[in-house]
C-alpha cells in the first residue's frame, strides 16, 4: 500500500477530479491518495465520484485555501 499526493492546485484543466481519476487508474487497490485542490467544488465533486464508483473518502479538510481530500482505492 502506497500513499500518493496528487497536487492539482491551480489546475483549471484538466482539473482536480480528472487528475484523481487518472491517479486512481495508476494506483493499486489499498493505496491512499491525497488530492490537493484550490477549487472549492472539489470538496463535493470528488466525494461524489468516489462514492459513485465505490472507493472510500477518508477525510476532507481545508487549510489556507487548499482542500486536502484523502481517498482510498477499494477495487
Amino acid at each position: 500500500m502506497e500513499k500518493k499526493i496528487i497536487d492539482a492546485r491551480n489546475s483549471f484543466c484538466p482539473g482536480p477530479l480528472m487528475e484523481l481519476i487518472a491517479g486512481m487508474k495508476a494506483a493499486a487497490v489499498g493505496d491512499e491518495l491525497e488530492v490537493l485542490s484550490t477549487e472549492k467544488g472539489s470538496a463535493s465533486d470528488i466525494p461524489e465520484w468516489i462514492n459513485k464508483v465505490g472507493h472510500e473518502v477518508i477525510e476532507t479538510r481545508e487549510e489556507g485555501g487548499v482542500w486536502h481530500i484523502f481517498v482510498r482505492k477499494l477495487k
Binding site: F12, C13, P14, M18, A22, D45
Partner: protein, 378 residues
C-alpha cells in the same frame, strides 16, 4: 555548453529554433551546441488529425521534413533514446550511441492507449494517429444511421478534442443529409460536459440546441463488442452503433522504463526542471510533464519559449529570467464553420466567447501558420 533535446515534436522543435536564434553568437563561436534526437525524420501537425477524421484534410497536409524546420546550427539525428543515465549526464539511443549533455530537455510527448480499456481497440474508432484517423473517416463514410457515442478517457491529449469531434460529427452527418437518422451521444468523466467550467457552461446549451444527448460521470470500463455496449466504472452502460473514443494517454515507454510511472516526469511547475536529485540540469517540456495542466500544443509552445529564454539567460548572465505561469491557449472548433477559444493560466480561468466564423477562419489559417510556430517565429 551542450544542450541535448530529446523529441522533435512541437515543444522540442520550437525550443531548438528559439534557442538557436538566441544563442546564434555562442553557436558560431563553438561555445554552445544544440543537439536534437528524434524518433522520426518527419514532423506531424497533430491537431490536423481531427480534420482528417471528418474528411476535411488529407494526411499529407500534416507533415513536413523535420530537418527542414530546424535552424542550420542545430544538430539533428533520427536516433530515438532508449535509456536515460541521469547520474552521468548521458543518454543511450537506438543506434547504440551514447550522447552526453550539460543540459537535457525531455520532450518525448504522449501516446493514446486504446489497449487501456478491454474491447476498445477492437470496437472503437479514434483519430490520434494518421492510420486511425483515416480508418475513422472510412467508418463514418459507410455509416448510414444509428447511435454514435463519443467517449472520453483520462488523461488525454488536447482537452478540446472531445467537444470538437462531437460538433464536427454533428455537421458531418448534417452535410450528408442523415443527421435525423443519427443519435449523437457524448460521455464525459466528471460531473459536467467539460473540465473547464466556463467551457462546460457554453457547451451544454449547444448540445441542447443541436440535439446531442450527454452523460457525465462516465469513465470507460469495458466494451462489449458482441452486444455493442459500452460500460462505465460508475456502473452505467450505453448502447452504440458507432463508438468514437478519445482514449486515455500515457507518456512514452522509454520514460516509463526510466522509473516514471505512466511515463510522466515529476516537474517543477514554475521552472520546468525535473524534480529530484538529477533535476538541476534536466528540463521537461509539454505532455511529458506530470503537471496538472492541459496536454496541448499551446502548453508545450509556451513552455518552450520560457525554457529557451531561461537557458539563453543562464548561458549569458548566469541566471534564469522567468517562470512558466501555466499559460494555455486552445482553439475550440464548434462545428465545421464556427470556432471559439479558451485562454487561461494557473491563476486565471478562461472565459470563452460564443463561437464565430472569424475565429474559425483564424484557426483554419493557423493550421498552416503552425509551421511558422514550429520554426520558432510565431
Amino acid at each position: 555548453m551542450k544542450i541535448l533535446i530529446i523529441g522533435g515534436g512541437t515543444g522540442g522543435t520550437i525550443l531548438a529554433n528559439n534557442l538557436s536564434r538566441r544563442l546564434s553568437g555562442e553557436l558560431k563561436a563553438g561555445k554552445a551546441r544544440i543537439v536534437m534526437l528524434s524518433a522520426s525524420d518527419r514532423h506531424m501537425y497533430q491537431p490536423g488529425l481531427l480534420y482528417v477524421a471528418v474528411g476535411r484534410m488529407t494526411p499529407d497536409e500534416l507533415y513536413r521534413d523535420q530537418a527542414s524546420l530546424l535552424e542550420p546550427g542545430i544538430e539533428f539525428h533520427v536516433d530515438p533514446v532508449t535509456e536515460f543515465h541521469f547520474d552521468r549526464n548521458q543518454v543511450t539511443a537506438a543506434s547504440g550511441k551514447n550522447y552526453d549533455y550539460d543540459i537535457l530537455v525531455i520532450a518525448t510527448g504522449s501516446r493514446a492507449l486504446m489497449s487501456s480499456i478491454p474491447g476498445l481497440a477492437e470496437n472503437a474508432e479514434t483519430f490520434y494517429t494518421e492510420e486511425t484517423a483515416v480508418k475513422m473517416f472510412k467508418a463514418l463514410r459507410s455509416f448510414e444511421g444509428g447511435r454514435v457515442v463519443v467517449t472520453v478517457g483520462v488523461p488525454h491529449k488536447c482537452p478540446m478534442a472531445p467537444l470538437e469531434i462531437t460538433f464536427m460529427l454533428n455537421d458531418y452527418f448534417k452535410d450528408r443529409g442523415i443527421r435525423d437518422k443519427v443519435q449523437l451521444h457524448y460521455t464525459y468523466p466528471i460531473g459536467r460536459a467539460h473540465s473547464l467550467e466556463n467551457v462546460a457552461k457554453w457547451a451544454t446549451p449547444e448540445f441542447g440546441r443541436l440535439g446531442i444527448t450527454y452523460e457525465t460521470l462516465f469513465n470507460m470500463k469495458e466494451v462489449d463488442g458482441a452486444n455493442k455496449i459500452l460500460r462505465s466504472e460508475e456502473g452505467s452502460e450505453t448502447k452504440y452503433d458507432l463508438l468514437i473514443a478519445i482514449p486515455a494517454h500515457k507518456g512514452m515507454e522509454v520514460v516509463e522504463k526510466a522509473g516514471f510511472p505512466g511515463g510522466w516526469i515529476p516537474t517543477n511547475r514554475a521552472s520546468l526542471h525535473m524534480e529530484g536529485e538529477h533535476g538541476k540540469n534536466v528540463l521537461v517540456l509539454g505532455d511529458t510533464t506530470n503537471l496538472p495542466i492541459s496536454k496541448a500544443g499551446s502548453t508545450t509552445h509556451f513552455q518552450a519559449e520560457v525554457i529557451a529564454e531561461n537557458l539563453a539567460a543562464v548561458i549569458k548572465m548566469g541566471v534564469p529570467v522567468r517562470d512558466y505561469d501555466g499559460k494555455v491557449f486552445c482553439f475550440i472548433q464548434a462545428g465545421k464553420e464556427r470556432a471559439t477559444y479558451a485562454s487561461f493560466n494557473y491563476t486565471t480561468p478562461p472565459d470563452p466567447q460564443p463561437p464565430t466564423r472569424a475565429v474559425h477562419w483564424f484557426k483554419t489559417a493557423y493550421n498552416k501558420l503552425y509551421w511558422t510556430s514550429a520554426r520558432g517565429l510565431l
